[in-house]
């Protein structure tokens, strides 16, 4: 991809989005401070910054979901001050939200066409045309979703693809993508990038928000770094090395993105035998030793989360035994599992991990309340609680105005950090992390890795489920690859590499042989 820079920069006609000194405050937070932002026609423009830096807020202002306190925004020269959401859509702008905002009970077609339903000549909804229209837009991205299905039955990545299709319905010339790949696996991301490439050739301008730097270097032309609500720099991506980009984002340096450190590995802590989760997966067998970090990888739909949820008792099991240090335990419900020292950091933070209208403090101490902060039967030691919460906020860099802020008002990645903090406080023995770094900024990822290694050093056993092969390869001691509900391969990280891992993730059978045959 060539950068569309050169002589066209500065040409006013080619600036499609221009934000001038935009400021926006929420109660207790200045989300944006005199932010400037410019996007040139035809480019893929990356917007990066820490969790809570103000990226999503700026985008919501541009599409008029929020109204700025001060400043001006121009779309292709038109001031958007008096335009509503529909108005900017007419200018060709479309935003795919970080938190998707879908309607679970409705079908895929109803969601995609929401607000733009085709009607018959009597003014009633034309269901047939609607199905066709939805299928048409969905078909541009994926062929594996049926438009008649209800959205609640779709996987995370399917929901993400659907949200993209929904944004295409208005035939946008400028597409804003807020962390579109956070829910996608490697394979789906790749085909999504191909789609973007094609769209770009047809003249689409893209604003691309992501915490995955690899992607940004792969698909973007220019990058704007946002920190604490102000612009730090805008530059062509190939002029900023990754380390420097991270420095601009964090305002400090970190040496490496994943702290490598080996901790002594002890006795077998958890044995899972012949586990058949009810939802998906069969014949799951593995051991986890104390001090060990065991990775589980696999494409979306491979059954990783289902295994985690079955072990934790959040989903029912068909059969199987779970032993802790040789002793069989029953985990029929999450509270059983918690009593036996399990912690599960779930994947979908908003549904599974947080109470949105409660404070950061209450959310964080919820799991550990009884164990750690109670005096007598149920008296909460508030000083101790507050102190612990403040420490967590600091170590994980949680962007909240105060421990009392309701979590629903935090940025997407910050919410995820709160979920992680909640379980890190629980003093468990076996931690299952399901995509813990999804949507988390580079600095935050580093802090989470460090905390995970600390837990391992203290003798906990850790299961680390992730789609980001790089982090799995650097953090884990051993990796299980799942495909279609089964564990198809076990790899020692030391003796493996990215290509081999990817080979098995895609469902390959014998890497050594295949490589030889080539």
């Amino acid at each position: 991809m060539n950068s569309p820079m050169g002589d066209r920069v500065g040409n006013q006609e080619d600036i499609v989005i221009k934000a001038e000194r935009v400021s926006k405050s929420f109660p207790g937070v200045r989300a944006l401070k005199e932010m400037d932002f410019e996007v040139i026609r035809g480019e893929v423009h990356a917007l990066v910054g820490e969790n809570g830096a103000g990226k999503s807020t700026l985008m919501k202002i541009i599409v008029r979901e929020y109204i700025e306190d001060e400043g001006n925004i121009f779309i292709e020269g038109n001031n958007v001050k008096d335009l509503g959401i529909r108005g900017v859509q007419k200018l060709g702008l479309s935003l795919i939200h970080q938190d998707l905002n879908l309607i679970p009970m409705l079908t895929v077609a109803q969601n995609i066409c929401l607000g733009r339903e085709p009607v018959t000549r009597f003014g009633t909804i034309d269901w047939k045309a609607m199905g066709l229209k939805a299928a048409d837009f969905l078909g541009q991205i994926t062929s594996e979703i049926n438009v008649e299905d209800r959205v609640e039955g779709l996987s995370n990545s399917q929901q993400q693809l659907m949200a993209i299709a929904r944004a295409l319905v208005t035939s946008p010339r400028i597409l804003i993508l807020d962390e579109p790949t956070a829910r996608l696996d490697q394979k789906t991301s790749d085909s999504f990038f191909l789609f973007l490439e094609r769209a770009k050739q047809k003249g689409l301008t893209v604003v691309y928000i992501s915490h995955r730097l690899e992607e940004i270097y792969r698909i973007c032309d220019r990058v704007t770094v946002l920190r604490d609500g102000t612009k730090i720099i805008t530059a062509p991506i190939n002029e900023i090395p990754q380390t420097e980009l991270v420095k601009y984002m964090l305002g400090r340096e970190i040496e490496q993105q994943v702290p490598k450190e080996s901790v002594p590995i002890g006795e077998v802590k958890l044995s899972v035998r012949d586990l058949y989760p009810k939802e998906k997966g069969k014949d799951i067998n593995f051991d986890l030793k104390s001090g060990e970090i065991l990775g589980i990888v696999g494409s979306i739909g491979a059954g990783k989360s289902e295994v985690a949820r079955a072990i934790f008792g959040a989903d029912p099991k068909q059969s199987g035994t779970i032993r802790i240090s040789g002793k069989e335990v029953k985990t029929n419900a999450p509270h059983d599992a918690i009593d036996h020292g399990f912690a599960l950091i779930p994947e979908e933070r908003r549904d599974q991990g947080l109470v949105g209208n409660e404070s950061v403090r209450k959310n964080m101490t919820m799991a550990a309340l009884k164990k750690k902060f109670c005096v007598g039967p149920s008296w909460i030691d508030q000083d101790k609680e507050t102190a612990a919460v403040k420490t967590s906020i600091k170590t994980l860099g949680i962007a909240t105005p105060s421990p009392e802020q309701e979590v629903q008002f935090l940025s997407g990645g910050t919410q995820q950090k709160v979920v992680v903090a909640k379980w890190l406080m629980s003093d468990s023995d076996i931690y299952i992390f399901d995509e813990p770094t999804k949507g988390i900024d580079v600095g935050g990822k580093y802090d989470i890795y460090k905390l995970i290694v600390d837990l391992a050093r203290q003798g906990a056993g850790i299961i680390f489920i992730s789609n980001e092969l790089t982090e799995v390869l650097s953090l884990c001691d051993r990796i299980l690859v799942m495909f279609n509900g089964q564990i198809i391969k076990e790899l020692e990280t030391q003796a493996s590499n990215r290509e081999e891992l990817l080979f098995y993730v895609m469902g390959g059978r014998d890497y050594a042989k295949t490589v030889n045959d080539l």
Binding site: G84, L114, Q352
Partner: protein, 320 residues
Amino acid sequence: MQKQSMTSKDIINNYGATFGFIIAIVVFSITSRGFFSGLNLQNILVQSTSLGICAFGLTFVLITGEIDLSYGGVIGLVGAVLAGMLKDGHSIGLVTLVCLAIGLGTGVFNAILIVVLKLPSFLATVAVMFLCMGAERVYNQGITTWIRDQGVLSIVQTNIGPVPALVLYLFALFAICWFLQTQTKAGQYVRALGENINAVKEVGIRADLLKFLVFVVAGLIFAFAGYIETLRIGGAVMYAGKQLLLSVLAACFLGTATFKAGKANFPGTLIGAFFLYTLLSGFTALGMKFYLVPVAQGLILIISVAISSVRRGKIEQVQF
């Protein structure tokens, strides 16, 4: 991702209340003589009309994720005004307009409280219910007023062909509601905003305005229910709305246990209303004491809420 065929368990799950309905009819027909006579079934239909109509209004509101209990007062107020004004010699045309205006007024008032001022709908509409009861008491001074004009009463107490007019009104309103809900954009958006209001706002639909309108429509439907109920009884009894308070709620929640996975819906409400009346009149036929009727209704409400929330829980996954 293939569609699975329904197992017997799914069928019970999806049509549980409908089955219950049929079983109840069979049981009552066997145990109490005369229950299954044509006249009695027609009575059930006729008597459940105002309940059903009112429940349609509530269903609209429930679909948006709110609740509106103001009907408990609106029905009585409309009845009092209807009977009172007729007694004072006003024409039925004018009186009808006034009744609708009461519905419109309370609907708009509810909408302002809930949509504009963002008060919780449960508390706001309970307050409006009491306001209306108060107004009713002041207007009729606690006296039952009968309507003597046969011409007026024949608006509802008549047959069109072989069918009682009331039953026609009920089904006509049902058809309109169901059509709006399932075939129009507005209906789609109302349902969608009940699920996720942000998603609706995001595509540029004026969700708040829609919600406002829903409360207004509900107010009008409640007034209509009060109008019909008063003419059916032939007069305005004190606090007529209070009698219906629990049954309407129960009918809607029985409805959520039918058809659509724990969500309010019109066919469900219609069946719920019939079911409820069948049970109540069945119990009466079996000789239940009148003061136990509220107890029975309370139990039915608990059971239907339990069924619908269990079903919803199933669908929304186990939370922890």
